[in-house]
């Protein structure tokens, strides 16, 4: 695979169930080689449906996709893809190692890779135990091990932290960071926006099956702002609204939040002091991905 070619290219992909449910609506997306790509959206947004289409588990109603240079579900493409879609699914009566042997047999890869993958996910000591006896965290890690034995160029992880306790989340977070640290491309669907913010190069947000924002994490977070605490509060608000416009000023937790470039802090401070207002705090306010996500998806939800 060439480094300039997108590992995943989705064009006008749609999936309709019956007449009334449009799970994915003309989705366009590209994931580049080597990047860790966050795929975000509220429950029912169409994330899992999209990932299942990319893996060939379900067929699109219209549109097309290319994954690892092949059509979804093509054995040659699947050879290069490791995946975890929703809950990990293995044979409960088999041990962790036996389950990986089954997975390796299907993939046509040697069993010699199994112990390395078990070690990578810290499951070697429990490899002989039956899958049914594993905790949720161990099941998730076994699913990651099943993906790793293929030494994949692309990892597709759908909510890998679902159902995990805090300890499990921490373990999975560090595992995902390790997976994405090399040359490997990772497509990560997750609700943990803080993790996505820390680990992903680019993100896409979908809602009601439609792409509503895509870009680098900084691009999606958008322009940062300023937080001002001043006295008198109402006087400060009035002065700032006159200066910046009403839409740029909002009251949050006893402070004023300004949607302006942080570089304007000195001008704003001077204007407030000039108007006889005492400024007790003036600092840049970073927007989190979570704020943007909630803002976008709530707006989209209301529009729908």
């Amino acid at each position: 695979m060439t480094q300039h070619q997108p590992v995943i290219r989705i064009q006008q992909l749609s999936k309709r169930y019956g007449a009334s449910i449009l799970a994915v609506d003309r989705l366009d997306l590209e994931v580049q080689h080597g990047e860790v790509f966050g795929f975000l959206g509220p429950n029912g947004a169409g994330k899992t449906t999209t990932l299942r289409m990319l893996l060939g588990l379900i067929r699109p109603t219209s549109g097309s996709a290319t994954v690892a240079e092949h059509a979804p579900g093509d054995p040659e493409g699947l050879r290069r893809i490791g995946s975890l879609v929703e809950a990990p699914a293995f044979y409960p009566y088999l041990s962790g190692r036996q389950n990986l042997k089954v997975a390796a047999d299907y993939a046509g890869i040697p069993h010699s890779r199994i112990d390395g993958a078990l070690e990578e996910v810290d499951l070697l000591s429990r490899a002989k135990d039956r899958f049914a006896t594993y905790s949720m965290g161990m099941k998730q890690r076994l699913a990651v091990a099943a993906a790793l034995i293929k030494e994949p160029e692309l990892m597709i992880l759908d909510e890998p932290t679902n159902g995990l306790d805090p300890q499990g989340v921490v373990e999975m977070r560090s595992l995902i960071k390790r997976l994405g640290s090399g040359d490997r491309t990772v497509l990560l669907s997750s609700h943990l926006l803080n993790e996505v913010e820390q680990t992903c190069d680019r993100v896409a947000i979908i809602s009601h099956g439609r792409l509503i924002r895509e870009g680098t994490v900084d691009e999606v977070r958008g322009q940062a702002g300023l937080v001002v605490r001043a006295n008198p509060f109402d006087g400060a608000r009035l002065a700032l609204e006159r200066m910046l416009g009403g839409a740029a000023v909002s009251a949050v937790d006893g402070a004023l939040r300004l949607s302006v470039a942080p570089e304007r802090a000195a001008d704003i401070n001077a204007a407030l002091v000039g108007a006889g207002i005492r400024v007790s705090e003036l600092r840049p306010a970073e927007r989190t991905l979570e704020e943007v996500f909630l803002n976008l998806t709530t707006r989209e939800g209301a529009a729908a």
Partner: protein, 275 residues
């Protein structure tokens, strides 16, 4: 295909349910021989099938073990193989493991081919094991009775073995296709057995009393009637009237059903989403 077969074999051979079903089928053989022998030697036993006691006892001797097995194993073995087929496929839906399997690498039809090969190999082992146990049981009974040890011709044994395997295989495939159809094992087993016992077993027997020509025509093409006819063709004539379906016709229909079940499974596997 070989990789899928290896994976399917690894799964099935370690699955307790497969062992239980196989063990149950095998256990039936010596038990039926033993209880039949005890029954035939009971002073209160009187044959009511038109056969003499000597003929019935002769069915338990080595000369007849192959023919006895075809008739004895076809129905109960078929029902248990239907359960096995439904479990082999339906559990994959229950555990949602098809998504793990299909995303590893193999094409869906390759997975199906591996599955078919693995369960068919298991049914061969079970049938061969049952014949071996039947041979041992008949040998023991003949020794106890002081009867001559005469074995059937090898060709007869092979024909009986092949027919038994085919009958069990078609029910196994029926269980599999039902599980693919309903995407679960419980409904596949329930409806599969209900069809086998109620529709084929009871309904046609009841309808045959009306001597309707269309019923007879339909009956000639039903899977259960043909597996019954195929197994019945190995029996000597004292069991009943001239059969409705010839052995050759039954063989063709059973093979056609087996192929039909495989093709239908392939269509379902290829065309359906894995959700």
């Amino acid at each position: 295909m070989i990789n899928s077969l290896k994976a399917e074999w690894r799964k099935l051979i370690r699955r307790p349910a497969i062992w239980w079903l196989g063990a149950f089928i095998l256990a039936i053989v010596p038990l039926v021989y033993t209880f039949s022998w005890i029954q035939y030697n009971s002073p209160s036993f009187h044959p009511d099938s038109g056969a003499t006691l000597a003929q019935l006892k002769a069915q338990l001797y080595p000369a007849n073990f192959a023919a006895t097995m075809v008739a004895g194993l076809s129905f109960i073995g078929g029902a248990l193989m239907l359960v096995m087929g439904a479990l082999a496929v339906g559990s994959e839906y229950g555990w949602t493991t098809f998504k793990t399997v299909y995303t590893q690498r193999p094409g869906r039809l390759q997975v199906l081919a591996g599955q078919l090969a693995a369960v068919s190999a298991i049914s061969v082992i079970i049938v061969a094991g049952a014949f071996l146990l039947a041979a041992l049981s008949s040998f023991t009974i003949a020794n106890l009775a002081g009867a001559a040890i005469v074995w059937p011709a090898l060709t007869e044994i092979v024909k009986a073995l092949a027919a038994t395997w085919l009958i069990l295989e078609v029910w196994l495939l029926f269980g599999m296709v039902m599980a693919y159809l309903f995407r679960q094992s419980a409904l596949a087993i329930g409806l599969g057995l209900a069809y086998m016992l109620a529709i084929e077993g009871i309904l046609f027997r009841a309808l045959s009393g009306f001597h309707l020509s269309w019923v007879t025509t339909v009956e000639k093409f039903m899977v259960g009637q043909n597996t019954g006819a195929l197994s019945g063709s190995f029996q000597s004539g004292f069991r009943g009237p001239t059969p409705l379906i010839s052995a050759e016709h039954a063989l063709l229909v059973v093979v056609a059903y087996a192929l039909g079940f495989v093709i239908l499974s392939g269509i379902l596997v290829r065309s359906r989403d894995v959700v």
